[in-house]
Symmetry: C2
Subunit: 283 residues, 2 copies
DNA sequence: GATATCTCTAGGCACATCCTATGGACATCC
DNA sequence: GGATGTCCATAGGATGTGCCTAGAGATATC
């Protein structure tokens, strides 16, 4: 057991998916696979149930996660013990409001770990060095590095009658109180349907929307990553396939800070699946 | 930075000596050397001042040690999280009373780490599977695996006039109140000289002896390892070179428990310096 | 002057890690 | 129903890192 394996473990725990975890760790999927296998052998317990659509943490994994998390944090802190906060470049990153906090913070690790960078996180409409946004929000002069894509799902109160259905159609949602998310980047899309009726509430943030759902006020259509970690909320797929592609956007014209350039390079190397011409390391 | 490097670091910190640390980690000295160098480069600070007779921890090392220690402990705890205490063999180890606790406990790590072993530590006169003793205490039917050898030194109150001397002769100690350690394995030796005069105190344990020294009651002659960690006690070499060889002793006749056999094997592989015929791994 | 101790460097070997490629098992889509 | 996409596991090959031996250099000790 070493810290590297613990990092891989927490990534898998967070993503519930070996392939996705591999991407956030900037390694290939088999590396994650063998690391988890080794860890399970060493601990003498099963950490994840593999099923066809990702993996599910066992009770052991839950238990192990808290201690793994602590060890990693302490190791990171130890590494920074003697680093002076000298000569830091400020990197301003715009985050769209509907991002999954845990996943995003994990993604930004390579930046926060650098002692020469002071990271500033702001809204995505402000003046930024780069933005993490949905592809639909991309401006003309921006490059886009895809990070992940995620579907929209319906979040409903666990006791709601519609939880009995495996999948929700637009017809199902016709006469049901809905919770609007005023900040949603897809609001133009949802707007059409929503305009036909009164919305039950207009949420100012994702947290707020989820709380309203949990309280039984209504149903919300939210990105999968947002609903995933929330308790007291049932999740059902919706029939209309709406997806968003989340990625890093940066202005093509302006020069990129060194730290950000490294970061983008890292992202591109791993995320861009080489289809015909492989762009590997050392290029 | 990985846990392995942290282990090496704590070993060096404890032993104040790369070579000795290498032995307690069961690796060669260059491995330790490069690990420390790497760690220093990564942290951006000097951890040890190298001088010709070992190394001295810097203030950074003091600081880093507490956090390194915690990370290692947590990692060890994590490893044992899911191990049941099932089917443990009890290994009874006799420790002579004058052992340096920190060093000895570190030495026994390979045994305490095993989930199939319950370690019992007792006095070295009781019925044991093996004993950690001075070579002078070896019985006829016992094998001896040397661990380290250490000199006896004089421990004196910091304000004592004799602290002005770099080295103490027997003459210096002739008319000085001495503290006897009744349990000392060398008592036969010291006895001769001590018998000529009244001793200022007879200490029941090393801790007690050191406390008496610190209190200014008198001077004690103790193994180097005992005096090293104690504050308020000055240490001076003595002119007569008395050494003790500490090692693991086990009865040649009785069969050895598996865990103990592994342990002895490990010790022998590393401690026994190959002089002409090297007995390396995989043998 | 011989010996012992302690650290560092050099060169070589072996294992660990990582990669790509591929296969099997399901879902999903047209 | 076949094509496609997703996801995990395995195999085989490249690479890198850790570890070892050997020996040099420096300094105490006998």
């Amino acid at each position: 057991m070493d810290i590297r394996e613990l990092r891989y473990f927490t990534a898998v725990y967070r993503e519930r998916n070996l392939t996705a975890a591999a991407r956030t760790c900037f390694v290939s999927q088999p590396s994650i696979s063998t690391a988890i296998t080794n860890l399970e052998a060493e601990l003498g317990t099963t950490l994840f149930i593999r099923h066809k659509k990702g993996v599910a943490p066992t009770a052991s994994a839950e238990q192990f996660h808290t201690v793994a998390r602590r060890i990693i944090d302490e190791a990171d802190a130890a590494r920074k013990l003697f680093r002076k906060p000298s000569a830091r470049t400020t990197v301003t990153l715009g985050l769209m409001r509907t991002l999954d906090a845990t996943r995003t913070i994990a993604l930004l690790k390579p930046l926060t770990a650098r002692s020469d960078v002071a990271l500033r996180l702001v809204g995505c409409d402000e003046r930024t060095d780069a933005r993490i946004i949905s592809k639909s929000m991309l401006r003309d002069d921006e490059h886009f590095v895809p990070l992940w894509s995620e579907r929209y799902v319906a979040a409903l109160p666990p006791s709601h009658p519609l939880t009995l259905k495996d999948k929700l159609s637009t017809a199902d949602l016709a006469d049901v109180p809905m919770i609007d998310r005023c900040h949603c980047e897809q609001s133009a899309f949802f707007g059409r349907a929503a305009r036909r009726r009164q919305s039950a509430a207009i949420a100012q943030s994702e947290d707020w929307a989820m709380a309203l759902v949990a309280a039984g006020v209504g149903i919300a259509i939210v990105p999968e990553g947002v609903a995933k970690g929330v308790s007291d909320v049932a999740i059902r797929p919706i029939e209309v396939k709406i997806k968003r592609e989340v990625g890093l956007a940066y202005r093509a014209s302006a020069p990129l800070a060194d730290a950000l350039k490294d970061f983008v390079g890292k992202l591109q190397r791993v995320r861009a699946k080489p289809r015909n011409n492989s762009s590997r390391r050392h290029d």
